[in-house]
Symmetry: C2
């Protein structure tokens, strides 16, 4: 069947009774081809389902007007906000998006990088998988000077820009708030510490304890995958402890909420017995009772900033090497889950 | 810089001092080329960052081992479960995924279809934007016999398969449950009715009312974008009504929860004053108090089934035309938000 064969410029040339060179030039918006002929060529190309030859086109100008996005998971409010922000900036500038998820696996991340490379994206926005320890799988992008920007889960690299919040400061603020509310036995629920976000949040937690001369205890740091189920599991373990903690700072809201629900079921009063603080300001923080104290930072803005920078790089407006790191604002939002001393 | 130029088979041929034909054959795993030479070619191609020429390759065997996914939004628990299910099935069979979101706009949907077409995906999985009224933007896929499968938000087409649940039956079950709990003034919160899912849910709602001889009232059907904010807005409107409804069936959980939170703030008791039922069984239904009665159906399974069917079509194991529609199971989950008569 004719339908199974790829449509070429020769098919278009034959049907319009013009040369293949004219078709090729027309498709490339060459100035020697008249508007009328260009329209004829484009209309027929569209009708026949001609697919622009990325290979040939990329030899000419290296652009496909497509940005690639690789994220650990698509199932969080934060990540869907980031993608909405990226989309807003990309639309403004006429770029399409191709998205892939690594499912928190560096092996899948490398495969996605390859797929994006083969799809000839003009640039890449990446938030790293939890077990990614180095960046060699991005070498083809770096070598070809195709810009790569890392956001949220980042790793320093001379050929890329990092966009993130000050995780250490945010975690310090949350922990200090719990201490100021009277907590002295504060546990920290987090993820494997390979990634900057968790490393820095742990640092901020320790720093606040240190400032108030509260001894850091290894057994008060619990490493999980930060899912709601993991939060419920941790609750079980905690409830078996001889002395209960009086505060919990979780590295995300989902895990905090799983833990809170399981504790409430067992009659623990929040915040009277145990105060809670999370991270991300997911909408669910205002559904849970009591509402959850958390760190707010705008995924939408992070996505917008990341995409705008990437597009500037793609267009050579700026160079990756001149900017290294962009830090976005975050803020502590105090709600009932941590207010042991009542509202001020 | 050499780095800015696309690497070609001629570069590989020159460096290895062999012919371009040999390189081309080697890359295509041609039997006339020795294993040793193939290894040399692949190693160098990898090192130089050679990108396989999709165009030439597709002329040969039309396969890129990539599936395209286009969904309205990536910000729901349901959609991230679907994508996890698709990913599971795709991984098993060695396929990568490229994802795009239409942001509920048929115009963006058409642009994403085009991007997927240019990326030469082997097949397409689509859940339609809320304002998509016809399928002409998929014509290039249909014409070329590249399989397209629609899931959840579907539209019948002779060249594609639809995978969905029986939305009419599910909505009938939810509404009948509210009636059995004593509700007589039941409102229905839904989205614009272009799409099958909302059309069929409205049908099921009407059917249950009819069965119990409860008069259908146009003003009891509220069309919104089904966001949490929209739910809160609807609550305000409802609270101004002369006679309050005694039951609300929302076409998704997010909107139901927005409405519940706003009503609770105004002192409305749930379920005593107004009973609630939602749709989707999002995790947040078990965070809200009282827990929300809802319709459960597995996004993960829907994604798996859709991807497996698509891959079968890509491999010509089955033909799209022989299967038309696949209906997956759904169930009513009764929780405290609707139990006016107490637990049975």
């Amino acid at each position: 069947m004719a339908n199974d064969r790829e449509v070429t410029i020769y098919d278009i040339a034959r049907e319009l009774n013009i040369s293949a060179t004219t078709v090729s030039r027309g498709l490339q918006d060459h100035p020697t081809i008249s508007k009328k002929t260009k329209k004829k060529i484009f209309d027929l190309a569209e009708r026949l389902g001609y697919r622009s030859n990325h290979f040939a086109r990329s030899l000419r100008n290296q652009k496909t007007n497509t940005l690639g996005i690789i994220v650990p998971r698509l199932n969080s409010h934060f990540m869907s906000s980031v993608i909405a922000g990226i989309e807003n900036a990309a639309n403004e500038q006429g770029f399409s998006l191709l998205i892939a998820q690594s499912s928190e696996s560096s092996v899948k991340e490398a495969a996605s990088v390859r797929t994006m490379f083969d799809s000839r994206v003009d640039g890449l926005l990446v938030s790293l998988a939890v077990d990614t320890a180095e960046l060699s799988h991005f070498e083809h992008f770096f070598k070809k000077n195709i810009p790569v920007i890392f956001f949220d889960r980042v790793m320093p690299h001379e050929n890329s820009v990092n966009i993130l919040i000050d995780n250490r400061q945010a975690a310090y603020n949350a922990t200090r708030h719990l201490i100021e509310q009277g907590c002295r036995r504060i546990m920290h629920l987090t993820a494997p510490i390979l990634q900057n976000v968790y490393k820095d949040r742990l640092k901020g937690y320790k720093e606040a304890l240190g400032e108030y001369k509260i001894k850091f205890r290894e057994d008060y740091v619990v490493i999980t995958n930060l899912s709601q189920e993991a939060g419920a599991e941790v609750a079980k373990t905690i409830l078996k402890m001889k002395t209960l903690p009086d505060g919990i700072f979780a590295a995300n809201d989902t895990c905090a909420i799983g833990c809170m629900l399981a504790m409430k079921e067992q009659g623990i009063r929040i915040p009277e017995d145990i105060a809670f603080a999370g991270f991300n300001n997911d909408p669910v923080t205002q559904v849970i009772e009591p509402h959850l104290t958390t760190i707010n930072y705008s995924g939408y803005e992070m996505g917008q900033v990341a995409a705008r920078h990437l597009i500037d790089h793609v267009r050579d407006v700026s160079f990756v090497s001149s900017t290294n790191t962009i830090i976005l604002r975050s803020e502590l939002i105090v709600r009932a889950s941590s207010l042991k001393k009542g509202r001020k």
